[in-house]
């Protein structure tokens, strides 16, 4: 058993492929914990970025620079009274947040954090992700119906219509990326890992393939994914100024926090799809321009160095903290954080570790890039009206994405013809 347990480490495949139940369990737990931590960090990150864009400080009190604010918030939500409206449909009301969270987390089964860092590699990975993440709308509609409130009902109906309409344009954009996988090698694939490997073999990220076709596809997907996850400027289902909190109006405490968790998780999930399909997944940047063993080594040091830089930043802030009694805990915490980050950075520089970690690092930073765009969009744009939202989905994004699919096909056919002629 120990042998099979360790056997995975040298197999070079995902635990799902290796069929190693212990590793699968460990990975599921790791991904669950990692995503939850990511949501917590994202909460802090979003509030901080929004605050700085809006000439204010954001959370500053709980922990140094409000780093512990998400933990305090989570704690507050858990101990808060759990209200259920007396006229609510109890069972459905109870099940709705569970359904939303389950589907949001399920999508992460096939997300490739690295060649070997996936729970399992499905041959229909992309379709699975799209399918599972669109199941979340069921939970939203359930929540709206069960709450027995007009605001909730309208919010959930809006959400249902919106998610279904944007799914179409989104899937079309995905189709064009999937078609690109079959270009040079001639073997198309829907597997998430396969798609990244196709980009590796073609020596190009699909966002730059047949420029600007790939870029347009990514743009369509990026807009559709904002709408799909109900974020500003498409946040009509929870439009605060119109519907108070949309389908979440009647939820409070822990149940509400589940919706919150699901929202951020699905944001990360769709960002992961975009990263995998267009931005080369776990691949490091500039493989063509800065290729070769030396550059490989240099890029593999980046994660460790980034952590060291973060540690230095923390240390710098640590030295500048006001030396007063009230801030002593914060200062110590910041120092501890600096040490922790520094140690992590050093560990990540070790040869055995850095090869395994850098995949995850690149993938995560690409996802973080999308998450930043989410926040940026939220601070910048006013909200669309419902009819305008539908117009964009059906009359703008869908034709563009169909056009992209056709263009990709045409270019692909032409390339194949060239290949035939040359042969």
């Amino acid at each position: 058993m120990i042998k099979s347990f360790l056997g995975y480490l040298h197999s070079g495949v995902t635990p799902g492929e290796a069929g190693n139940l212990i590793w699968i369990t460990i990975y599921v737990l790791l991904v669950f914990a990692g995503v939850s931590l990511g949501v917590m960090f994202m909460n802090w990150f979003e509030r901080k970025i929004m605050a700085h864009m809006q000439v204010r400080m954001g959370p500053m009190r709980v922990g140094p620079h409000g780093l512990l604010q998400p933990i305090a918030d989570a704690l507050k939500l858990i101990i808060k009274e759990d209200l259920m409206p007396s006229n609510a449909d109890k069972l459905v009301f109870w099940f709705a947040p569970v359904c939303v969270v389950m589907t949001a987390f399920c999508a992460f089964i096939v997300v490739p954090f690295g060649r070997t860092h996936t729970i399992t590699d499905m041959n229909i990975g992309v379709v699975f992700m799209l399918g599972v993440s669109s199941l979340g709308v069921l939970g939203v509609i359930m929540a709206g119906w069960a709450s027995n409130s007009h605001y909730s009902l309208m919010g959930s109906l809006r959400s249902g219509a919106q998610m279904v309409s944007y799914e179409v344009a989104m899937s079309m954009a995905v189709v064009s990326a999937v078609m690109m996988t079959s270009m040079v090698t001639g073997t198309g694939t829907l597997s998430m890992i396969g798609i990244v490997q196709a980009q590796m073999q073609q020596h190009i990220w699909f966002v730059f393939s047949f420029f600007p076709v790939g870029l347009i596809a990514l743009a369509v997907f990026a807009i559709a994914m904002v709408a799909e996850t109900n974020r500003a400027p498409f946040d009509l289902p929870e439009a605060e100024s119109e519907l108070v909190a949309g389908f979440m109006t009647e939820y409070s405490g822990f149940r509400w926090s589940l919706f919150f968790l699901a929202e951020y998780t699905s944001m990360m999930a769709v960002s992961s799809i975009a990263t995998t399909l267009w931005l080369g997944g776990w691949l490091r940047p500039f493989p063509n321009l800065l290729g070769g063993r030396n550059w490989d080594l240099a890029f593999s040091l980046v994660p460790g160095l980034t952590f060291m830089a973060l540690a230095l930043l923390c240390f710098f802030t640590f030295t500048r903290m006001p030396r007063i009694r009230a801030m002593r805990g914060d200062t110590a915490g910041l120092g501890g954080l600096a040490c922790l980050l520094g140690v992590l950075g050093v560990v990540m520089l070790l040869p055995g570790v850095r090869d395994r970690v850098q995949d995850i690092f690149w993938f995560t930073s690409k996802v973080a890039f999308f998450m930043y765009f989410y926040v940026w969009g939220r601070t910048t744009f006013p909200r669309y009206r419902f009819d305008q939202l539908m117009t964009i989905g059906w009359k703008v994004l869908l034709p563009i994405s169909i056009g992209v699919v056709i263009l990709t096909a045409l270019i692909g056919v032409r390339q194949d013809l060239f290949a035939l002629v040359r042969r």
Partner: protein
Amino acid sequence: MSDNQFYESLDETKPGHTFLDSNELVLNMGPQHPSTHGVLRVILKLDGEKVNGIECVIGYLHRGIEKIAENRTWAGFGPFVDRLDYTAAVSNSLGYCLAVEKLLGVEVPKRAQYLRVILTELARLASHQVWLGTHVLDIGAVTPLFYAFRDRETILSVFEKYCGARLTTHAFRIGGCRWDAYPGFAEEVLKLCDDLPPMIDEYRNLITGNRIWLQRTKNVGYISPEDCMSYSITGPVLRGSGIGWDLRKAQPYSSYEDFEFDIPTGTAGDTFDRYVVRVEEMRQSIRIIRQAVDGLPEGPIIARVPKVIKPPVGEVYVSTEAPKGELGYFLVSDGGPQPYRVRVRPPSFINLQALEKMAKGSLVADVVAIIGTLDIVLGEVDR
């Protein structure tokens, strides 16, 4: 539809009568709702997202200010008018003081008039900044709110230095001003006038060219000039429909005839034009403030007014151009130390009446935008 029918149709308690039976959904917006600007209650009858019927219920902030006046002295009622439109307390104060002064036949010294103009125009700026922030927030953009409030803060700090209060200032007294300009007042206000236009440009860069903003505001909440006049709408809402009626020009008071300024008007009468008009008004206010500070005459700041004010028997109506429209005071005196009757013509209340006209047939999201563009303050609507 008569009121009775309307309320009957809302009654879901009748047997066999639920909202599921009809295609209409009754949505009760407010009195606790993020975007009804206080405690306005709006009952919407919806067919999907479309608004088929709209009914405003007001009075949740009714404090009986007009009745209180009858138990206060003429001067003692001064602080109460600050609580009408609390985003521009100074403007309310100006209207009331002008009305009592007209009743008394008092001539206000020139310096006091100029000081009043400076402070009311500052209040107009502050009020428009509150409007801008909240209106844009209603339409879904969060950031401009903070920019507008940051700049409003500088104006409020001028108020604070001038009279000690930031919101409910009670800056003016019957016959003039209570305080003279503090040392450095002119420099501070002029610096504010230099700082604000770039900030207004910043709002413009953030909002005006934004496609979503244009889509959300163009052709939303249209009201024709004829309807404006029949509803007796005043202020920026009227000017947005193309009628250049501004009391500061039409019936100049408090030396407004001394200053050069334009009356911005719109053409389309929609939410976007009203937005443009208000933003342009902010620039014009800065122009007026500059002229008033530069030409601030020396002299007394308050006329000789008896300690106990007993105006002669009679009645008077004085209206001023408050940030939200024509703010009128109708005062009746029976010769005693207390007003016999004070009637306020609140611009918010009268402009709000057009909500049904403007919002019927639009979408839910537009209702929120229209409430924002009417720029109501419930303190003034309910009194």
